[in-house]
């Protein structure tokens, strides 16, 4: 079990929310708050959610990503998701959501700094 954390960064005018540790029922509220906070600024048209530092995610995390995607689409905004490690990305694959969400490479959307 890894200690969960979320951070919000502005990288070259792009808002990036990073989630780390285990994303489940206990940690999802903090990520939801970070996402809601990031979207309060009406100028923000796109948001990138970086899942690379997650160690675990279950359907509670899936729901947060889906709800954010649905809300942003309804507002004419766009959510980009940087894939997590295989065990995390597998949950999206099992849920048959790979096509529905917009997965991007880190370099496209403000994620390059976090690569060691």
């Amino acid at each position: 079990m890894s200690e969960p954390a979320t951070s919000i960064e502005n990288v070259d005018g792009m808002v990036v929310v990073r989630a780390s540790g285990d994303l489940d029922l206990a940690s999802a509220p903090a990520l939801e708050r970070a996402l809601t906070e990031s979207l309060q600024d009406g100028q923000v048209e796109t948001l990138t959610l970086d899942l690379r530092a997650l160690s675990f995610m279950d359907s509670t995390g899936l729901r947060v990503v889906l709800a954010t995607d649905a809300r942003m689409r309804a507002q004419g905004r766009e959510l980009f998701v940087i894939k997590g490690p295989p065990s995390v990305h597998r949950v999206f694959e099992l849920a048959l959501l790979e096509e529905r969400l917009r997965f991007v490479e880190p370099a496209e959307r403000g994620g390059s700094d976090a690569d060691a």
Binding site: D24, D58, S87, V91
Partner: protein, 138 residues
Amino acid sequence: MPTPESFTIELAATPDTVGVARAQIDRLAGALSDQTMEDARLLVSELVTNSLRHASLSPDQTIGLSFTLLDRSLRVEVRDPGPGFSPAIRGTRSTDDAGWGLFLVARLANRWGVHHDGGNSVWFELDEATMEASSDEP
């Protein structure tokens, strides 16, 4: 320490319990493949989350988990004292809240089921892939 063949644990009905329940799978290291352990962690997380979301438990109530190593499979049962829920598996098109947990259980588990006997119980079994089929080890 030898790997236990079966054990049970009672955990408080609080959100932190989801992670504690997942961590129990580590006690079976050595007896299960990495893939089975990964799948089991996810499904345990889903079932405990289901209990916490749907059973209207108070923090002083507990969720019971039992883990049993069978011949070539793992059986896990999660029990709560709540009224239970109908095992509606979601479609994949809507964004409403319910059903993803059991959808994942249905996708990954070889066998699973629900029963009500005053409380609510959901169980699943994961079979080990055959030795021939496992290619994840170098």
